[in-house]
């Protein structure tokens, strides 16, 4: 009865296709139509520029706290690009590029972070859950959705996003375990951006990779260069195909970096140096993808310039629309809506109470 290594069903691989110099591994290059490549590029650029505009709106006091995405565009878009519209996305709170890709209007972000619930409206045709603030708690929701798809005989899949910090949460572990036990068609996308507010990845876990946590639950796990949209897309496509074929869940760890603040209420200078950030700025996912597309002949500097102008106009139009709408959102009685399917007698009474107070205040104002 010797001691011997136990062979486990799933090895952990690292996948990189387009390195930080834009050098391509041609053998691994996924087949993506040029039009789709350009669509992805536009989405990355829109995600980045919108993020910059949101930061500026926040600094001007025109919206409240939000979580910037800069640096994580490839990790998000490479993953969601592998989904069909009919699939489900269960986001965390830092997936605006993915949410935009899935059809959420830009003005909804501004209205939401402007402090109005109306911005959280999910369109009837959308299969995306609203953003989720408590870290990791959305993971089991994706499992339940995926189980329900399987139960109903659908070939839809669910994809959920979370950060490196979430892998320390109980709900992450319970979710992965349930997904594997029930072979639910779900893809777990970890955006390992190296920081859970001030806690670096090295202090989050002693695991050498986050992807290897999949082994514990009996599902495939893979680590990819999260700033390489081709690698993320390839890994996500494999995972989606596996889930659709009835072969259960996958954990994908996208190694990326949060270039900006955790949220606009955070000051990263307290816990990391500009030099660290500079290293990752050189690995920018957008610049890298632009080199690839230019080398491939599907994009030119002139086209990028035109696209930048087009995107700025699109963002400006959304800001204008959002601010026009917010100016009309002066009715606090809206807070009573959607608590229950039918408003309870207590809530009706409380709503009426606030309505009376507001009317009295308006009367005082008009006499004052």
């Amino acid at each position: 009865m010797p001691r011997k290594p136990i062979s486990l069903p799933h090895p952990i691989e690292y996948l990189s296709i387009l390195d930080e110099n834009g050098t391509l591994d041609g053998d691994l290059e996924p087949l993506i139509e040029p039009a789709d490549l350009l669509k992805l590029h536009r989405a990355m650029l829109l995600g980045r520029r919108f993020d910059e505009r949101m930061l500026s709106l926040q600094r001007q006091g025109r919206i409240g706290t939000f979580a910037p995405i800069a640096g994580q565009e490839a990790a998000q878009l490479g993953a969601v690009a592998a989904l069909r519209d009919s699939d489900w996305m269960v986001p965390s709170f830092r997936e605006s590029a993915a949410e935009i890709w899935r059809g959420k209007p830009l003005e909804n972000f501004i209205i939401f972070f402007g402090g109005f619930n109306e911005g959280g409206q999910i369109a009837s045709e959308s299969n995306d859950l609203p953003l989720c603030v408590p870290v990791g708690s959305q993971v089991p929701h994706a499992v339940g959705l995926a189980w329900a798809m399987k139960y109903r005989g659908s070939d839809q899949v669910a994809m959920t996003f979370f950060g490196d910090g979430a892998t320390s949460e109980g709900d992450f572990h319970e979710g992965l375990n349930l997904a594997a036990v029930f072979q639910a068609p779900v893809i777990f996308v970890c955006q390992n951006n190296q920081w859970a507010i001030s806690i670096p990845r090295a202090n989050q876990t002693r695991s050498a990779t986050l992807a290897q946590k999949a082994i514990a639950y009996g599902m495939p796990g893979i680590q990819v260069d999260g700033n390489d949209i081709l690698a993320v897309y390839a890994a996500a496509s494999e995972a989606v195909a596996r889930a659709r074929a009835g072969d259960g869940p996958t954990l994908i760890e996208c190694v990326t970096y949060r270039l900006s603040v955790h949220t606009t209420a955070d000051d990263p200078k307290r816990y990391r140096s500009d030099d660290d950030v500079a290293v990752w700025k050189k690995r920018d996912p957008i610049a890298r993808f632009q080199r690839y597309l230019t080398d491939k002949g599907v994009l030119t500097p002139e086209k990028i310039e035109a696209l930048e102008a087009e995107i700025q106009a699109e963002i400006q139009a959304a800001v204008t629309r959002a601010e026009e709408q917010m100016a009309q959102m002066d009715d606090p009685l809206e807070m009573f809506d959607h608590v229950y399917a039918e408003m309870t007698p207590d809530l009706q009474a409380q709503q009426a109470e606030l309505a009376r107070e507001l009317a009295a205040a308006r009367k005082e104002d008009s006499h004052g």
Binding site: N117, P134, R152
Partner: protein
């Protein structure tokens, strides 16, 4: 009509709703092959199969989180948390998501799930198996908190809870599970959630109770009638949230004396809300301050002393007499 225990009546509700709607899914720890530790889900896996009755890993937060996802997709999950004392693991999922997804998504996503869980003392259980923490759930906007008091209303309320478009916490008093039998009609029966019931008419004082406390309260009302000639009106809340105050406010106006009974700790318990409503809506009709017979603000003691903790007939009668003494 068959005479059933509450366990059998709950099983009937599940069985009938699962037959009626293939979106009704039962899940939880030991609910399948074992039929649940109290046997509420007994035999369901044999009838409906392991795709409808899921024996899950031991993961309360995961069970509820998964139920939320299932409900968002359009199913009607009925999950069991084996003891309410273990439901704090999933408290976060209920508070942060089940109760709010409708609101957060502006009506797009709803969570028509039921969380069934045994609560309360009186069965000589271990620590963490006897709590009565309905106030936790009743404090959450967007959530409904239902507590039946016997087999027939348990069956009808569970049927309504499963069909309810909002998430429902369904507290089952384990002291009632096999305490007595009641005639339960084979044909479908529902009860509206959010409505209480008068179970005994009276003119002298109002007794308000629910769940396992209803029986000692009714017994106390009978003793008061026999020994003191006092006719107590007894109100069974049935739903703790949203709270139906119409019956007890009207009753207080009629009797002028109110005593309320719950086994939950006194401070911030459901009784406190009931007193507040009475003060707001029936203050000038009250002839005496509202009295409370409740659990104490302690951890419910181990079973050799739990009868001193739990409100019983004696305490209720004594308090009622004190309330009416001039």
């Amino acid at each position: 009509m068959a005479k059933m225990t509450m366990v059998e009546a709950l099983n009937l509700a599940l069985r009938q709703e699962m037959t009626r709607d293939d979106g009704v899914i039962v899940l939880g720890e030991d609910v399948g092959v074992d039929g649940g530790v109290f046997r509420v889900t007994d035999g369901l896996i044999g009838t409906f199969g392991e795709n409808r009755v899921l024996d899950t890993p031991l993961a309360e937060s995961g069970i509820v989180g998964m139920s939320i996802g299932m409900a968002v997709y359009g199913l009607r999950p009925v999950c069991e948390i084996q003891f309410s004392g273990f439901s704090y693991e999933n408290f976060h999922q209920i508070e942060s998501h089940a109760a709010r997804l409708r609101w957060r998504s502006r009506g797009r996503f709803t969570v028509p799930m039921v969380l069934r869980t045994p609560y309360g003392g009186g069965v000589r259980a271990l620590e963490h198996h006897s709590e009565s923490r309905e106030a936790f759930w009743a404090h959450m906007p967007g959530l409904k908190m239902v507590i039946p008091s016997g087999p027939r209303n348990a069956r009808a309320l569970l049927t309504s809870a499963i069909r309810d478009p909002d998430p429902v916490i369904f507290y089952e008093a384990k002291a009632l599970y096999r305490a007595f039998r009641e005639e339960v009609p084979e044909v479908e029966e529902t009860l509206p959630i959010g409505r209480s019931q008068i179970v005994r008419e009276g003119r002298d004082l109002t007794l308000i109770a629910y769940g396992a406390m209803l029986r000692p309260t009714v017994a106390a009302s009978e003793r008061l009638a026999e020994e003191d000639g006092l006719e107590a009106e007894v109100i069974d809340l049935l739903t703790v949230s949203p709270l139906d105050d119409s019956l007890f406010v009207a009753s207080a106006k009629k009797t002028g004396h109110v005593l309320l009974v719950h086994e939950a700790p006194r401070s911030f318990g459901p009784g406190a809300e009931i007193v507040a409503r009475l003060v707001e809506k029936a203050f000038y009709y009250l002839e005496k301050p509202v009295a409370r017979v409740t659990g104490f603000d302690v951890v419910i003691p181990y079973f050799s002393r739990e009868n001193s903790y739990l409100p019983g007939i004696e305490r209720i009668v004594r308090q009622a007499r004190g309330l009416l003494a001039s």
